[in-house]
């Protein structure tokens, strides 16, 4: 079968240094120019095109990249990913309204908070079997929402109002409706996340995750400290979710527990599964398609979650590797293992 992923990898690997730089810069330039391509058939009936680019598309892409570290790379099913998103957003909301810190100062704090809660949840949960991990994370995602709903300090169901926008620099101002600026900011974060994942995948951590995903017991016997790397995958995934949360809060300026339901976790999971678990380009493509289509096709937007549920079932049964599967080399080992 024609495999777009392998074709792409082949072109990339046959290029010299200059060719690769040209491809990368060209791709980034096209993606960065997306806001200017609006006003055409890309417009959605509900929201205007540029705001759709920021949320859900860019936000979904960022979170899907983060969740992919946990699910795709190391094979751990995390169903409470929204918790880290919520923790990032509430850190921004609290610190942004109660202290004088600005978004760029809160961003590392939010990431640290998400990573810290990743450790708190991960250390007990990652000792358990895969299906137990799924249900623990599922519960955790809901617990974070319930805590936010019932603690007076977090604003209960009214949430937190009046979160400040990020301060501008170089004469760029972040206004509430300057979607382009937010889009480019998110794009920088996405590129950083892609860079981080690619660097890690090619190194010791990536090999450790790969071995954990394929056979955890064998990996453990061969001396891979599996627990340590599982916690690392979990915490890195959490850090990306936290960063997305901080930016989300300073974009919408208002957060409430209703923004952080279980459904978000499922949506992001659907993006990862649809695109192709483990392959970062597939995951990005999946997030773009699933973020965009429900807004573009009007009758889908009410039934969005229904569609995403169907996507999960159909993809798992008919094409478990997603629309852009991971490299053949990695897949072959799995096939042998299963037979």
């Amino acid at each position: 079968m024609f495999n777009l992923r392998d074709k792409g990898a082949e072109i990339w690997e046959n290029q010299g240094r200059v060719g690769r730089i040209v491809i990368a810069v060209g791709a980034i330039a096209i993606v960065a120019a997306l806001p200017f391509m609006g006003g055409t058939f890309l417009n959605t009936p509900i929201a205007d095109y540029e705001s759709v680019l920021v949320y859900p598309i860019a936000m979904f892409v960022l979170m899907a990249i983060g969740l992919n570290i946990v699910i795709g790379k190391s094979g751990l099913l995390d169903l409470g990913y929204v918790a880290f998103f919520a923790i990032g957003a509430y850190t921004m909301g609290l610190l942004g309204t109660k202290t004088g810190l600005n978004t760029w100062e809160i961003l590392p704090i939010g990431i640290a908070m998400a990573m810290f809660s990743g450790i708190i949840l991960g250390v007990p949960a990652l000792k358990l079997r895969g299906d137990y991990l799924a249900i623990i994370t599922l519960g955790f995602g809901e617990i974070v929402r319930i805590v936010a709903l019932n603690l007076g300090a977090l604003g209960r169901s009214e949430g937190i109002l009046g979160i400040p926008t990020p301060p501008g620099f170089f004469g760029i101002e972040y206004a509430f409706d300057s979607h382009r600026i937010y889009y480019w900011t998110l794009l920088i974060l996405i590129l950083l996340a892609i860079w981080m994942v690619r660097r890690l995948s090619a190194r010791r951590a990536g090999r450790a995750w790969e071995s954990i995903r394929q056979d955890e017991d064998a990996a453990e016997l061969l001396g891979v400290p599996t627990f340590k790397y599982k916690v690392w995958a979990f915490v890195l995934g959490a850090s990306v979710g936290g960063a997305a949360g901080v930016l989300y809060a300073s974009k919408t300026l208002f957060i409430a527990p209703d923004n952080f339901t279980l459904q978000i976790s499922i949506l992001i999971l659907a993006c990862v599964v649809f695109g192709g678990m483990g392959n970062i380009w597939g995951v990005i493509l999946g997030a773009v398609i699933l973020g965009y289509l429900p807004d573009r096709i009007r009758f889908l937007s009410e039934a969005r979650l229904l569609v995403f549920g169907l996507v999960l079932v159909i993809m798992m049964n008919l094409r478990p590797d997603g629309i852009l599967p991971r490299k053949k080399r990695e897949k072959a080992i799995v096939k042998k293992d299963a037979s």
Binding site: L77, G130, D131, N150, L312, V313, M316, N317, P320
Partner: protein
């Protein structure tokens, strides 16, 4: 606070008991499936939710009860309750079998590991809850009251309400039927065989797919009965109740040792009581958090539950 608690102890206990029996029945849905597949049936919570709606359809649409109509009595009352119970059980049981066919069967044949069936089951439960949410416009649905909720007697100042009594007695009967089915019938024996060792069972000529379907059916029947009892007790449902009840019942199954039918019984009772007492002290909004903390503690300290996991332990 403590004084209040002692005053209300027995009425809390009765409420907790009937809640516990509802948990037991849902937990059976998890535990039966886990016993044969070694997999969490993620869609079970939504099968329960569909069971509550099936009950309301019978009471409200078939027997035309409204919020203001008079209570049914005598034979007619038992006819209504019986029809609703059987209908809810059948709908949930058949739905559960369908879920297995859609979400698990193909993946099981492909030998696809643990992750894929989990994700596909989550997809199915999303489809179920979203379909119901769209059909009900995201609004909770109240069940008309067909039965006058009178007190049967007094026990240390606490009234014994008729619906709680019905729940406890019928759940006990259902549980006894299930135990007999698993231990005494041919199909029950096949289920136990598959649970112990599916390959050996296949070699002995047992139709594995049939047994798994039957297990999902039985689990679904029990879960559907829980849906009926829940509607009888709380008279309210929505497309979203599956999640919370599901996690709680799953915790009950884990607490007793998942895969172990008797474990589900004790786990369900313990959790029902614990949750009721805890929400008296902390307030009902922290109910889900209490359950979650219990789940984490049990999994962390005693992952096989209080009564051990399954009949046999040795399958990965």
């Amino acid at each position: 606070m403590i004084g209040n608690f002692l005053d209300q102890f027995w009425s809390l206990t009765f409420g907790g008991l009937s809640l516990g029996f509802i948990y037991i029945l849902i937990a059976l849905g998890y535990t039966m499936v886990y016993g044969v597949l070694r997999m969490i049936n993620f869609a079970n919570s939504e099968i329960f939710m569909v069971g509550t709606f099936a009950t309301i359809i019978i009471i409200r649409d078939l027997f035309k009860f409204t919020q203001v109509s008079e209570y049914a009595t005598g034979f007619r009352l038992w006819l209504i309750l019986g029809t609703a119970l059987i209908f809810a059980m059948l709908v949930s049981g058949i739905l559960s079998m369908l879920v297995e066919m859609v979400a698990y069967r193909r993946l099981r044949r492909m030998n696809s590991g643990v992750l894929a069936p989990l994700i596909s089951a989550i997809g199915v439960s999303m489809v179920l809850s979203e379909s119901v949410r769209i059909l009900t416009d995201s609004r909770p649905v109240a069940s008309p009251r067909a039965m006058e909720k009178k007190f049967l007697g007094q026990f240390f100042d606490a009234g014994i309400r008729i619906d709680n009594t019905i729940i406890v007695i019928s759940a006990l009967v259902l549980f006894a039927i299930l135990i007999t089915f698993v231990n005494k019938t041919r199909m029950g024996k096949a289920i136990r065989a598959v649970s112990m060792n599916p390959n050996a069972a296949r070699l002995m000529g047992i139709n594995i797919d049939g047994v798994i379907s039957a297990t999902f059916l039985v689990g679904g029947l029990m879960t559907g009965a829980a849906g009926f009892f829940y509607t009888l007790k709380y008279e309210n449902t929505s497309a979203f109740i599956g999640f919370e009840l599901g996690i709680a019942a799953f915790t009950a199954a884990i607490l007793g040792g998942i895969g172990n039918i008797k474990g589900a019984f004790y786990g369900g009772l313990a959790l029902g009581l614990l949750e009721t007492y805890a929400s008296f002290f902390l307030g009902t909004q922290w109910k889900a958090v209490t359950v979650f903390i219990v789940l984490v503690l049990v999994l962390y300290t005693k992952p096989n539950g209080l009564f051990g996991e399954a009949l046999t332990q040795t399958r990965a």
